[in-house]
């Protein structure tokens, strides 16, 4: 009940307040991105058991970011956090070539879920600082993003640890929220 009332409160606040859901496989860099958004230290991040929430002011918007753990055992709980989501941010470890299929599968599950119908999706192709990282365009192709027709989407190359590319993603969010 606590969670539900919290959600309702978020919903009823001023229109520039957004509920952002941060998802992706384990070790994709979700918590790092979130901490970077809040300008916090990212040197001692541990795997997320459960979830983290943070409110961040960015680009004139108040973002309530929900960062949910990405490990296999937690993924079934992702659905519990779908309701009232304004933007889905999906984080991909661009250097983790072995799990491209897995991350693509999970993204597809999300896009096909009724509760997330029409929710704009921003894919961060994270870890661009690593030598083995695939380019954003490659990731977009492997995830079949071009087949998405029912919502706005965007792919953005970034490096959470260096803080590069995150701002560009936020700008896209700003533009797509105004359209709504």
């Amino acid at each position: 009940m606590g969670l539900l009332s919290m959600l309702k409160r978020l919903r009823s606040s001023p229109d520039k307040e957004l509920r952002i859901l941060l998802l992706g496989l384990d070790n994709a860099g979700k918590t790092t991105l979130m901490k970077k958004l809040a300008s916090e230290d990212v040197s001692h991040i541990t795997p997320t058991q459960g979830f983290n929430i943070k409110s961040v002011q960015a680009d004139g918007m108040k973002l309530n970011v929900w960062d949910i753990g990405g490990q296999r055992k937690i993924r079934p709980y992702w659905r519990n956090y779908f309701e009232f989501t304004d933007i889905l941010i999906y984080v991909v470890d661009s250097a983790d070539r072995k799990r491209v299929d897995e991350t693509g599968f999970e993204l597809n599950e999300l896009l096909n879920d009724d509760k997330l119908e029409g929710v704009p999706v921003l894919v961060y192709a994270n870890k661009q600082d690593l030598a083995l990282a695939a380019q954003a365009s490659e990731i977009a192709q492997e995830l079949n993003l071009h087949l998405i027709r029912d919502r706005p989407w965007q792919i953005q190359a970034c490096s959470g640890i260096r803080g590069e590319g995150i701002k560009e993603g936020l700008e896209w969010i700003g533009q797509n929220v105004k359209k709504k």
């Binding site: 384990d26 070790n27 001692h44 541990t46 795997p47 058991q49 459960g50 490990q71 296999r72 055992k73």
Partner: protein, 312 residues
């Protein structure tokens, strides 16, 4: 801002006056008074630390600079047999304390604990910054040893395998899970599993509970981060100062084991409905521990025997 400045300067003068007055009637300096009136352990050591840090006497300030430098270079442990007598003779000289006095011994123990604790902070920060490296034999052996200690009846089929998830790692290869806590996370787990094998296996079996379970290794790494935070922000001083010996690296492992053991009991007791409640209960657990550490007589000890091995 102004109010703060006025308040702190008033505080400073009042304190100075009280110190002068007490000095006149007792013929003892503040450090001696602390050693004679406060009980051994955290109350005494915390006050000695405050008194030394507040000192404006150049020799004392110089001494602190040297000791601080040694502990931040992680050479205090190594040099303590020379550093401690030197420190004591400086303090005795400046404060005109007779070298045969009992207070000096007590003071030496305090100084030892204070700067050993400071070095401990550096030691654990250093180990947390060493990334887990698959090409390093020592790291790999340590990881495999962890498996053997926790799962004596199951052979690891491969270095990269889903089996790691049985002991609560996220995926097929634990290496990425160590990220923020580096080798410290692994060292902690290995110590817990090898020194408190029964307790660790007990906790592991609790963690596998179909409804109220948790991820053993991930929670373990999270607790490393918690323990590190408590030591670095100084909250853990009560515990470490109350122990008989000056803190060393192994004492951090002991502190960690206590937290793990306590968390396991706490989680079991709460019967959470699923893993997502970790966030809430983790915060509550942290609050409980911090409250305990605020009491100056707190010392964390695992008070159950660890000698009934469980098979499997």
């Amino acid at each position: 801002m102004w109010l703060y400045l006025i308040r702190s300067s008033v505080y400073w003068y009042v304190r100075k006056m009280i110190k002068w007055f007490l000095h006149k009637i007792t013929k003892l300096c503040e450090l001696q008074r602390i050693c004679y009136t406060l009980s051994v352990g955290a109350p005494r050591t915390l006050n000695v630390e405050r008194s030394l840090r507040d000192s404006i006497i150049p020799q004392i300030c110089g001494l602190l600079t040297v000791l601080d430098a040694r502990s931040s270079e992680r050479t205090f442990y190594f040099g303590r047999t020379i550093l401690l007598p030197n420190a004591m003779s400086t303090i005795a000289h400046v404060k005109r304390i007779d070298k045969s006095e009992r207070a000096l011994n007590a003071l030496e123990q305090c100084v030892d604990k204070i700067w050993s604790y400071m070095q401990l902070i550096e030691e654990i920060k250093h180990n947390a910054s060493i990334q887990y490296d698959c090409t390093n034999d020592v790291h790999e052996k340590s990881l495999l040893f962890l498996w053997d200690e926790l799962m004596p009846n199951d052979r690891l089929e491969n270095r990269v395998t889903k089996q790691w998830q049985d002991i609560g790692f996220q995926g097929d290869d634990p290496k990425t899970d160590f990220r923020g806590m580096g080798l410290l996370g692994l060292d902690n787990l290995v110590y817990f599993a090898s020194k408190y094998t029964c307790l660790a296996r007990n906790a592991l079996s609790h963690s596998m509970h179909p409804e109220h379970g948790y991820e053993f290794a991930i929670v373990g790494i999270n607790l490393t981060s918690f323990a590190l935070g408590l030591v670095v922000d100084g909250s853990a001083k009560t515990h470490f100062y109350n122990k008989r010996n000056a803190p060393e690296y192994e004492d951090f492992h002991e502190f960690y084991c206590y937290l793990f053991w306590e968390f396991d009991k706490f989680w079991l007791d709460k019967k959470p409905k699923d893993l997502m409640e970790f966030t809430t209960y983790r915060k509550q657990f942290e609050k409980n521990i911090r409250q305990k550490l605020e009491k100056t007589d707190t010392v964390f000890l695992i008070d159950v025997p660890n000698d009934h091995p469980i098979n499997g």
